[in-house]
Symmetry: C2
Subunit: 269 residues, 2 copies
């Protein structure tokens, strides 16, 4: 690899010959975190460009510039996260990057044994991102992403109530149901009895909503209705490479990204 | 095939041996429309279960029931559209169903020639669905999907303004940029110079926003800034199988689904 990396090391695989570069906004976990977790869980070297190199945020700006029309084989990305694999491959959209990385990092079922497994993992990922990442973002920005939270606070208060009372239980209940189903392969992981990137996405989104809505999540955890979901959360959190990552300075703190802790948007104790 | 189909016929391919069933809410185009268009554009027989069989809406209800935990190999779906392929495969999430169908229906680049093409098509699809399907839905339901539009109208008016002035031009500008880029293969289609399912999705989402915001879209079309986008729209609309489909009674009318025409949410002439 031509660039340095701070990620933990594991045995090299055939996919290691071209370096992976993650291009994402610096300083926040954001949607880039899903990509980081896939690399970290598998000990795959990668460069977190805007956090780890002198290119900084410029790497993002260049990609999302209105002058960027892509190149011979890659359309321009609308927004980060963006994965660069070697010199010639640029992939965007969080679930799409995971889809691309999944087979390379061993985070999906082997297509020889289970040719449809990849699609189930993708569906579970899309669903977690919809309900536990996009929607929590929209809670604090219900009207316009270009306005400050403070300028849409009355609407955010209403949307937060609906999110806590209806949407969050709906999505937690869905994943509890997935973990109760036979296709989960025993209920320890979402699909096929083994860790896939869908589990990493669910872990990260649960971690995010726990930061944003601590009182609400505390009540939901105590309800006992979603025990399999929270057991999965703790299981992923306890995996050695994830534990090491979470304790490292590569794990960025939540701040003004997707998951924000505004006490007025949480349950009032 | 065990079930009747009203779709147009074309030469059978090897994927025809197991029937395709689309399970979606009856009577509206909705997200199911993206799946219908993939079948229709390629002359692939399929059954639109809730619109064409006696199972009706029951087929959807059964799948999304809180008692459904899926089966041995398929997790339960959260929501329609749902694709059933033969007796043993159930796939959910619109972009995921398209990803599954793409190679089978010839709506993605041949992976032998272009192993990364599928991911570009998927990214373009996700982006069109984000900005031109999910966001227009949220315009009329900015606070809660469980409330009526009338109960969130003040918020919808604000969000509609932002959507028309900022978001819609942003996404149209993005796709114009994609069509101006070399990876589009000449600018007639989004990627690789040939029709892919990303073009069908862009067509459908443009058609939807044209229904929802006719005054705004008319102005944006006249601006001349997005001519490649609208040329693509007309190109897809003019494809023989699509033309035949749009003229058929299989093409459902917009009503109270994703795309709704509330004049107060559009530009005022």
């Amino acid at each position: 690899m031509s660039t340095s990396t701070r990620s933990s090391k594991r045995q090299k695989t055939e996919t290691d010959d071209k370096p992976f570069r993650l291009v994402y906004w610096p300083g926040i976990p954001g949607r880039g975190e899903h990509i980081r977790l896939a690399f970290e869980a598998t000990g795959t070297p990668y460069t977190d460009v805007s956090n780890q190199t002198e290119e900084g945020v410029g790497a993002v700006i260049k990609q999302v510039s209105e002058d960027n029309t892509g190149d011979e084989s890659n359309p321009p990305p609308l927004a980060p996260p963006i994965l660069q694999h070697g010199d010639d491959i640029t992939i965007s959209q969080t679930p799409n990057i995971l889809l691309y990385l999944g087979p390379k990092l061993g985070l999906v079922p082997d297509p020889k044994d289970d040719p449809v497994g990849l699609y189930h993992v993708n569906a579970l990922t899309l669903t977690a991102l919809d309900g536990l990442s996009n929607e929590p973002h929209d809670v604090h920005h219900p009207i316009a992403t270009t306005l400050y939270y403070e300028d849409q606070k009355p609407e955010a208060l209403k949307k937060a109530k609906d999110y806590r009372e209806n949407r969050l239980p709906k999505f937690l209940g869905y994943f509890e149901r997935v973990l109760s189903g036979k296709a989960s392969g025993g209920g320890e992981y979402l699909y096929g009895g083994k860790l896939t990137y869908a589990d990493l996405v669910l872990f990260q989104t649960l971690d995010g909503v726990s930061f944003a809505f601590p009182n609400c999540i505390s009540k939901l955890r105590k309800s006992g209705k979603y025990d399999k979901v929270w057991a999965l959360y703790e299981r992923v959190k306890g995996l050695e490479p994830i534990k090491a990552y979470l304790a490292s300075d590569r794990r960025l703190k939540y701040s003004m990204g997707i998951y924000r802790h505004y006490p007025e948007l949480d349950d009032q104790e």
